[in-house]
């Protein structure tokens, strides 16, 4: 489970002074569900997810991820999370297998478990034919599969995806979407951020609309449409954002 409690993040900018990237954001994401964080560029999605993944430290509030506090137990949180974003690239000089093995070891897996998990994940994602190929020689789709394998190798109960389909072609994006669905079926807690409405409509059990660092609205697609009397998610989003302006 993920439970954000009044999460805040402030940055110090030389020109603009103090910037509040995330302000008092609270939400709950349950196991076997997908929570979609919907927002425009610069809304605070990435910062929120980075705080949940303990890559950034909150300046206020906290969150429980997989039962661990992101402020007090960041290492334990990271050990129970699979984090995937467009910014989490691969080591080009390592092979696909070496890349996944490296992270498996850092997640504390012993040799036999690691071998079993790699065989399992590589088989499931159809990666066996390129397991010994260097990552810098792989296609975009193959690279995405290696990244997915990296996040899955330790079988984490919580998955965090930060705009995972950004800049990908249709086929590769479909692989990612399919993989996110699979995570839900396996009972994992999934949160993902995007600004693509169709992805949210297709995938999410709960939607949170974030704008200027604030969580403005939250609910299922039906609840949101009903609450704001709008025909689709795009209209709901525009309505909520404009009302806050």
């Amino acid at each position: 489970m993920i439970e954000a409690q009044k999460l805040c993040k402030e940055f110090q900018d030389k020109k603009r002074g103090k910037i509040r990237a995330v302000e008092q954001v609270s939400f709950r994401c349950l196991p076997g569900q997908i929570y979609g964080l919907l927002g425009a560029n610069g809304a605070g999605k990435t910062t929120t997810l980075r705080m949940l993944a303990t890559i950034l430290k909150p300046t206020g509030g906290t969150a429980l991820v997989g039962g661990f506090d992101v402020v007090k137990e960041p290492e334990k949180v990271r050990a129970h999370v699979g984090f995937l974003s467009t910014a989490t690239a691969l080591y080009g000089r390592l092979t696909a297998q070496e890349m996944v093995e490296y992270f498996g070891r850092l997640y504390g897996l012993d040799n036999s478990t690691l071998k079993r998990r790699i065989d399992e994940v590589f088989g499931r994602l159809g990666m066996d034919e390129f397991r010994d190929r260097r990552c810098d020689k792989l296609s975009t789709g193959m690279k995405q599969k290696v990244s997915i394998a990296r996040t899955l190798v330790h079988d984490p109960p919580v998955m965090i995806f930060d705009e995972p389909t950004l800049g990908l072609d249709v086929m590769t994006a479909r692989t990612i979407v399919g993989f996110i669905r699979e995570c839900r079926q396996q009972g994992k807690t999934v949160i993902f951020s995007t600004h693509v409405m169709s992805e949210v409509e297709k995938l999410c059990d709960t939607i949170g609309i974030i704008h200027n660092g604030k969580l403005l609205a939250e609910g299922t697609l039906e609840e949101l449409r009903h609450r704001y009397q709008q025909p689709d998610l795009e209209e709901v989003f525009v309505h909520v954002v404009e009302a806050a302006a």
Binding site: I55, E75, A87, Y91, G92, Y102, Y107
Partner: protein, 400 residues
């Protein structure tokens, strides 16, 4: 901090680095080839040019040859000297390197030497200082003139019934009491510390940039910091690799130097007994141990600085000025007359440079060695602390 995680990160960085051609060249190939190329190349080329200068025919102009027929005959007899017709633009011709030298004989030179022995006569040689062939020609002419003068002196002594000892009442000798290896140790002590310190830095430079700014550029920094490894573990894993690279570069450069010295010394030994290049295993080991904490400090400081950069290229821009900060104190061994004292022992890099100079010259001031080692360890610890702190700063890690 878990040693297991540090080990995992170190092993991965090692695999990664061994596949990086750029780092392999700077850490392994460069130190192995540097000294043999430098020493062999410089010595070999010098010998080649000197031999060529000696073998080539040197055009020489004789001005007023009719004033010294005997001396002119002797100059014409010098091997590889070709006398060319005199011309008034001889200075220009020397500057244009068309002739190597011009010899001017005063009017009535030989007749005056004969008839007016009490009046000093003069011969002038015009040459091009700094030009090897011109210098060689000058030396040959000087030899011929000296022999001619000695013949005249000898004849005059005989005529006056005097012996050679009357013209030379005493000998003035200089004798070196320092052992040959100490003399060469002193010479090496000037140059070697500088190279060892610079190689220790360059060995760490490329992996330090690759593992920090390079990771940011390739987008893998966020991948690794999202793993359960702590920032401290990541820093130490990476740092160990950078340190290993620095130490391997330094060790290889010292080894390569030793082999060059043994081989080169053997070749030089055939020509001269006075110049024996010898470096003891003890002095080499002492300098290596002293350089270790310096390698720690360099590795950590380079990582901390390169991490600020957004990419590899920007990191090079930050590191380049650091080279000057290191080069200046590393050149301390070049400055004659600086003596190590407790104050200088505190100055990073300069202290190791000066100490290495003493050690190569066969001096082992153990108290000073301990003091400098301790100070360098303090700087190394400070640099490491700084590197860990940099990795914990979000504005640095996410500066992309």
């Amino acid at each position: 901090m878990k040693a297991r995680n540090v080990g995992i990160i170190f092993r991965k960085e090692l695999t990664d680095t061994l596949r990086d051609r750029r780092t392999l060249i700077s850490s392994i190939l460069l130190p192995i080839l540097l000294f043999p190329l430098l020493m062999g190349g410089v010595i070999g080329l010098s010998i080649l040019f000197i031999k060529r200068a000696e073998q080539q025919t040197a055009p020489v102009m004789l001005l007023g040859a009719e004033n010294a027929p005997e001396l002119v005959r002797q100059i014409r007899a010098i091997e590889n000297v070709e006398v060319v017709p005199p011309a008034s633009d001889y200075v220009q011709k020397i500057n244009d390197k068309k002739i190597q030298a011009a010899v001017e004989f005063a009017p009535g030179l030989e007749a005056n030497i004969e008839q007016h022995p009490d009046q000093p006569q003069s011969i002038t040689v015009y040459w091009y200082e700094g030009e090897l062939r011109s210098r060689k020609t000058l030396q040959r002419i000087q030899k011929a003139v000296r022999e001619y003068r000695e013949e005249i002196v000898k004849a005059r002594l005989v005529a006056r019934k005097l012996s050679a000892a009357d013209a030379k009442p005493f000998e003035f000798e200089q004798k070196n009491v320092a052992a040959a290896e100490k003399v060469t140790g002193n010479i090496l002590g000037f140059i070697l510390p500088y190279f060892v310190i610079i190689l220790c830095l360059t060995g760490a430079m490329y992996p330090a940039m690759d593992l920090t700014a390079g990771e940011k550029e390739r987008g893998t920094m966020e991948t690794i910091i999202a793993s359960p490894a702590t920032r401290g573990e990541i820093v130490f894993g990476k740092f160990l690799l950078v340190l290993l690279s620095s130490v391997v570069t330094t060790a290889l450069s010292i080894l390569s130097f030793a082999v060059t010295v043994i081989v080169g010394g053997g070749i030089l030994g055939r020509f001269t007994k006075e110049f024996v290049i010898q470096v003891s295993a003890r002095s080499t080991a002492t300098v290596f141990v002293m350089v270790l904490p310096l390698a720690v400090a360099f590795s950590a400081a380079l990582m901390a600085i390169a991490l600020i950069a957004r990419n590899y290229r920007e990191a090079q821009g930050y590191i380049a000025p650091l080279m000057f900060v290191v080069i200046l104190p590393a050149m301390g061994s070049f400055i004659p007359g600086i003596e190590l004292n407790a104050t200088l022992a505190m100055v990073p890099i300069l202290n190791v440079s000066l100490l290495a100079k003493e050690v190569f010259a066969g001096q082992y001031p153990w108290k000073m060695i301990g003091l400098i080692f301790a100070w360098t360890c303090v700087y190394a610890a400070a640099a490491l602390w700084f590197a860990v702190r940099q990795f914990k700063r979000e504005e640095i890690i996410f500066r992309t």
